[in-house]
Structures are given as structure tokens and as C-alpha cells.
Amino acid sequence: MDRTLTSFIAALRNADVRISTAETLDAMSAVELCGYRNREFLKDTLALVLPKTPDEKYTFDETFDQFFAFEDVKGESVVTVSDGDGEEAEGEGGAGQGQGGAEGEGTEGRKGGGKKKKFSAFEEQQDEEDLGPGEMAQPRSTLGKLLMQDSRVELTVNMAAAAKEVSLEEIQVFTQKGLYTRKIMEEMGLADLQQEISVVRQSPSIPDRRLGQELKKRREWLREQVRDYVEKQFLLHADATGKKLREELLRKVKLSNVEHRNFRLVQEVVFRMAKRLVALHSRRKKVFKRGQLHVSRTLRHNMSYDGSIFDLHWKSVKIDRPKVFAICDVSGSVANYARFMLMFLYSLEEVMPKVRSFAFSSDLAEVTDLFERNKLEDAIAKTLRDYSGGSTDYGQAFEDFRNKCLDEIDNRTTIIILGDARNNYGDPRTEILKEMYDRSKRLIWLNPESRNTWNVGDAEMRKYSAYVHQAEECNSLTHLERIVGNLLRTIQ
């Protein structure tokens, strides 16, 4: 049973749920307690032990339902048993008798009901030769017997065993699906079945031919089942290396070239980068030499000096954390970069709680509020939607910025400007930038274009770069990570 659990955990890990060895052990002791008997209980239990964030819980739910799908099969057959209609049961009852009277009349009838549902998809194939209901011969091959037994549970068990035999869990790419389906069928005894089908179909006896038809139908059904099973297992086990490779690439690729379908992945990468930076920088703690006297600590430490207060200790007061103003050009060409930059800044909330952000293309507006109220993705989407129209005007944007919040810039403030400095030949208003430069602790300009095009055409980078502390090319996640890393080092 432990093996079930470990392979389930492997599947979870594959679905990006982080599970440590200690948690695996916890899960084992929890399962020992609750057992595999009650599916809901098992799910509740494992949901408490394994996934540790709401996101992971969601993934867990899906994976669990897929992985423990066998239980469903059982449940389903129970359902079909209960609603199997009487008429059908009667019709098939004769066939059941032919199968050998070892089993009671009641079970035969019920099986018939179940069968009707399962095979309805293949009903239309029946047109080849109408033999009518009646006696049917006994199947001889193992797989044939299994198929005619009508026990889905046993079939599923057999299928799983065969899958294990051909090591289905090693499946890697989707093109292998067909191969594995075939392998599993063969492992289950397909060859014998084929043989039997072709023999009985040629046979002169009607019950034999009936069997042939029935077996063929059921073979097709089985193939469907196996394909389905392989599909599910592929989703569970398909190796994550492909994903890793893609992530690796995404870090280097130019942000404007990131395709829409990869946004989610990029976001994950960004969060992970941000988390690492947070871990790196949140550990620092300064002991401040002023503020309120920490009476108890002082007294305690001065006990050794006979109680005379000599070595003073202070309540370590955290100076309010540095402020970051992010000004992002969100006009068409730069919008994509702005998206990732904002994503990054707000992922760093823990170490940089005071990010205020502004967006502009022609007019500048503060979007801090949007980010406070909405989820990150929504906020970014809204920002881009609301402010990205209009042609770029850096002069106007700086003017707006000056009117809005120049007063709030002090020597602890870092300003980050993201933009290509393409001003459509308008007035660059460098004097405002100079003012910002003078007042702030640091002014960083991130330009998504590569350095040699900085001054080509309507770009004003040369004029602007006189009034920034640092101008950097920034167009991939790696760049972004490095710059923000430096930023954290200097502002703390």
C-alpha cells in the first residue's frame, strides 16, 4: 500500500506540489490511521498533510481524482447495477445461462444491465450480422474470459498490472501513448484474443459467432479503456524535464518575445526569483543604537555589573523601510517589459513593502491602488488596459510626476524608470529629471532596448542618462533579477 502512496506523491511532485521526505512520512502515518477504505476521508487527510498552499490544494484535488480513479470505476459499476433495467436483464439472461450456471440468476441479470451501458457506444457496429439473442459459446483465451466476466474491477486491476509490467510510469512524451497502449494490450493477452476471435468468427456454429461478435465489441471497448488509462498516466507521470528546459529558456529570452501562453510560466519563474531574493535580503537585521530603552534586557545584561546600568540595550526600532517609486512606460512597445517589471517588484513585497508605481504613455497616473486591491495579474492587466493608449510623451509624464509627488521623494527613495526614452521628438524636460535625481537616493533607468540603439532616432537616452545614477539594459528575466538584486543590496 505504501507503494501506492509513494507513486501518488511522485505524481503530485510532477504536478509541481513540493513535498519533502518528512511530509511523505507524515502522509504514511496519516494513511495508517485513516486507511484506504473511505475515499473522501483519505482525500481530506492527504489534503491536510501534503499540499501547503491554496494553489497546491487545487492541484492536489485534481491529481487525487485522477490518480485514485479506480475507486470511481467501482462506484460506477455499483450505480449501473442499481439502475439496470429489467427488460435488458431478461434478454441477456439467456446468454448468462450459457456462460455457465456457477453464478446465481440475480447476478447475471444485473450484469446484463451494466453491460448495456458500457457498450452502448459500440452498438452501431452490430450491423454486420444479426444473430439475435441466444446461446453463446464459452471464450477460451484468458483475456476473452476476463472480458466476458463483466467485472470491471478485475479488468482494471489486470490493466494496472500490465501497465506496471511494461513500466508505463516511464512514459515521457505524448507520442509514446500509442505504443504503450499496444504494449499493455499485448501484455494482457491480446494475441490470444485475436486468435480466438478470428477462429470463432469463421466457425459454423451460431453461438460461436455470437461470441465472436461480442468479443470484438469488447476488445474495442477495452482498447478505449487502455488508451484512456495511458492518457491519464501520461498526465501524471510525464517527466517535468521538458518544463524545466522551457523555464531555462524563458529566463534568457527577450521579454517582449514571450508568448502569451507562456505568461503563467514566466510568472512562476518571476515568483521563484523574487522568493530567492527575499530569502537573501530579509535576513539582515540591524541593531539600532537609539530609540526606546529595552529595560528588561538592559537590566538582565547588567546583572553581572552588580546591577549598575552600564551596558545599554535598545528596543531595536526598524527605521521605516526604503521607498521605491516605479515609473513605467506602458505604451505599446514597452508594455510587455513593464508587465514583468511590475510583477517582479510586487513579488518582492516582503522586503520592499513601499513600492509606489506609476504608469504612463502620455499622461502619468498612479496605479499603486490597483495593485493593493487586485490580484497581481489583474492589476497588471488593468494597468495596461487603462494607460497604454496614446503616444509616448516623457516630458508630460515627468511634469505630471512633479506635480503629483515630487515632494515625497527624499533621500531614502529609489526611483526606477522603465522606458525606451523614445519621446517622439517632444521636449524631454530633463530639468525635471534632474530635480528627481537631486532629491532621490538613487535613480535607475532601465531600458529594454539594447545599448547600441539607445540614441538612435527619437530616443533621448543620451540626455537623460546624465541625470541618472545608473542606466541599464533590461530585457530578460536574468537582467531583471540582477538589477533588482543590486537594488536590494543598495537600498537596505
Partner: protein, 342 residues
């Protein structure tokens, strides 16, 4: 209840009998908890009898916490009953609840223990006089020091220690429920401080040694509002329970348990309204506690059925931001009609 019995026995004259009886009584409570925590359905019923309606997931969490001796980290939006869960558990098991409210700057002196520095200082001053007697006849420095050593570290013994919530919880004889509230508000460093107590149910005090939990380790609940990510190390040691907003059915049962006087039709209406409200884009979504407050308000106003004006007047009970109230204002009529019709 248990406490009263013990006090009575303390007054009894027959010491031998007293000790025997106490064992029986203590044994009695322990089996009670065992029985209660023996199955999820028992727990769920137990919670219900204490007016806490919970999903099977929550009951399973408490069940596992008790059976596996693991702390539970409870996350979820504000006001879904995270703290209430710990309180009710304590009530149900008839155990004392020890609560540690976390905040920025919380350190071990406030969470685990603190030396009674005043007392220590006072005693040093007092004992200074008697020092001469102790050292009488001692020749030379070494001998004096040796004599002093014979007294051991009196000043750093339990006599001089002020236990704080975490240590108190470990020292409870019959176990207790320990609630570490809003752990996300504390600093990173404090989280690491918690690791030892969460996994081993012990704390190390340099001057004394390791203090282990008495016979019954506490049942620990940690709550978090997700203002920041809790470290993996902490998460790894806990069961993780996420309490979302309840669905309409569960919420109605909760209201029924908490405000039983409210008529069923109104209850259905107000729950539907709140559920609709949660789909809107609001700064702070109304939680269960707000629904309960609202139900009480409506009851107080002798309301029979919701109507737009009434909702508008009482909206400040469920929405806590003027901005949200303004946003919802336009849609009140539609929402109310929906709630009444359904």
C-alpha cells in the same frame, strides 16, 4: 469541571484516598477526549454541539492533529473562524486555551520565558549581606569561589523564571490547546523559534536545559492571514488546513447555529445576498463573522424579509470600506431581488 473536583479533593483529609481518586478523575477526562477525537463524525457532532459548524475537512484536521500529535496551520481569509476553531476545540475537550498573539517584534522573552530580573536583582542585594557568612573562614580566592559554586545557579532556576505562553502550554499537566494567532504578523526569526516546540514539543532554555511537555503535549493551532508567506520549514511541521468561505448551505447552517432566532426564509435570503456579494470585486469581502453580525442586526430590527432600503441602511455591518459600500450601492436593488427570488 475537572478543576473543581480536584480542589475539593485537596481539601479532603485522607491523603492516600485523595491521590487514588485524582488518578481516576484525570483518567476519566483523558478517555473522554480520546472518545471524542476517536472519529471524524464524533468530532463534527462535538463541534456542532458547541455551535461551531464545520466541514468534514476541518474535523479531519482536528482528528489528525490529535491522533498524530501534529500542529495545525490554519489559513484562510479573515473572519472565517480560524481563531474560533481553536477556541471551540478547547471548549469541547474541556482544556485550557493558551493564546499567543503574534505581532512584529515578538521575541522569545515574550513568547517563551523571561527571567524575573527585578526579583533577581532584589535577591542579589539582599543576599549581599549574607555573603560574608557564607565565605567565612574561606582562605584565598579559589576557595571562596568554590564555596559559592556549591550554591549552584540559584538565580537561574525556575523560581526566577517567568513562563510565557509557549512555556506555560508545555507545563500544563493535562494538556491544553495552544493558539498561536496570526503567525504571519511575526518576524522570520520568530518562526524559527517556533520550530523546536512544534516538532518536539520542547523548548531549550540555555540556563536550565530542555523543558519537555508534560504527559499530554498541547494541541497546537497556528493561524495565518497570508499577509506573508510562511516559511517552508514551519509548514513542513504542520498539517495545513485552508478554510475558504463556506458555500451557501454550510453558511446557512452556521447562521442557524449562531443566530437560531432568525426565521429560515430571511436566513436564506441574507446568505444568498452575502454569497452574491462575494462574487463582486471588493476590497474586503464579507466573511462569516460579518454574516453573523448582519443576521443579528436584522433580528434586532425585526426584519421579515430583505428589501433594498434596509440593505442600504445596514450595509456598513457587512462592508468595512466606504469605497466598497459606494461600489455596491448601485447594485443593491438587483442583488436584493436576486436574493429574495431564489
Amino acid at each position: 469541571m475537572l478543576y473543581i473536583v480536584t480542589v475539593d479533593l485537596d481539601n479532603a483529609a485522607f491523603c492516600a484516598e485523595k491521590s487514588v481518586l485524582r488518578v481516576v478523575v484525570v483518567g476519566g477526562t483523558v478517555t473522554d477526549i480520546d472518545k471524542l477525537a476517536g472519529s471524524v463524525s464524533n468530532l463534527q457532532a462535538g463541534f456542532e454541539s458547541h455551535r461551531y459548524i464545520c466541514s468534514s475537512q476541518i474535523a479531519t484536521a482536528v482528528y489528525l492533529a490529535y491522533q498524530l500529535r501534529k500542529p495545525v496551520l490554519v489559513e484562510g481569509p479573515a473572519g472565517v473562524g480560524k481563531t474560533e476553531l481553536a477556541k471551540t476545540t478547547a471548549e469541547m475537550f474541556e482544556l485550557p486555551l493558551i493564546r499567543l498573539q503574534c505581532y512584529e517584534g515578538l521575541d522569545e522573552a515574550k513568547a517563551i520565558y523571561e527571567w524575573k530580573y527585578g526579583k533577581q536583582l532584589l535577591y542579589t542585594q539582599v543576599l549581599k549581606e549574607t555573603l560574608d557568612e557564607v565565605l567565612q573562614g574561606a582562605k584565598g580566592f579559589t576557595e571562596s569561589v568554590n564555596r559559592l559554586h556549591e550554591f549552584g545557579d540559584i538565580f537561574f532556576s525556575e523560581e526566577f523564571m517567568e513562563p510565557r505562553p509557549l512555556l506555560k502550554a508545555l507545563n500544563e499537566e493535562n494538556g491544553c490547546v495552544l493558539l498561536i494567532d496570526e503567525v504571519d504578523k511575526s518576524d522570520h526569526e520568530f518562526e524559527s523559534l517556533l520550530l523546536e516546540i512544534l516538532s518536539e514539543y520542547q523548548v531549550s532554555i540555555p540556563e536550565i536545559g530542555t523543558v519537555k511537555a508534560k504527559a499530554e503535549p498541547p494541541i497546537v493551532f497556528l493561524t495565518s492571514n497570508n499577509t506573508r508567506e510562511i516559511s517552508d520549514a514551519l509548514k513542513r511541521r504542520c498539517l495545513h488546513l485552508y478554510i475558504p468561505f463556506p458555500d451557501s448551505d454550510l453558511e446557512q447552517r452556521i447562521i442557524h447555529a449562531r443566530v437560531p432566532e432568525i426565521p429560515p426564509e430571511l436566513r436564506r435570503q441574507l446568505v444568498t445576498f452575502i454569497q452574491e456579494l462575494r462574487d463582486l470585486d471588493l476590497k474586503k469581502l464579507p466573511a462569516i463573522s460579518e454574516t453573523i453580525d448582519w443576521a443579528r442586526t436584522l433580528l434586532l430590527l425585526h426584519t421579515e424579509s430583505l428589501d433594498a432600503n434596509l440593505v442600504r441602511d445596514t450595509l456598513n455591518v457587512i462592508l468595512k470600506f466606504q469605497e466598497d459600500i459606494d461600489n455596491v450601492d448601485a447594485e443593491i436593488t438587483t442583488l436584493t431581488n436576486k436574493a429574495i427570488k431564489n
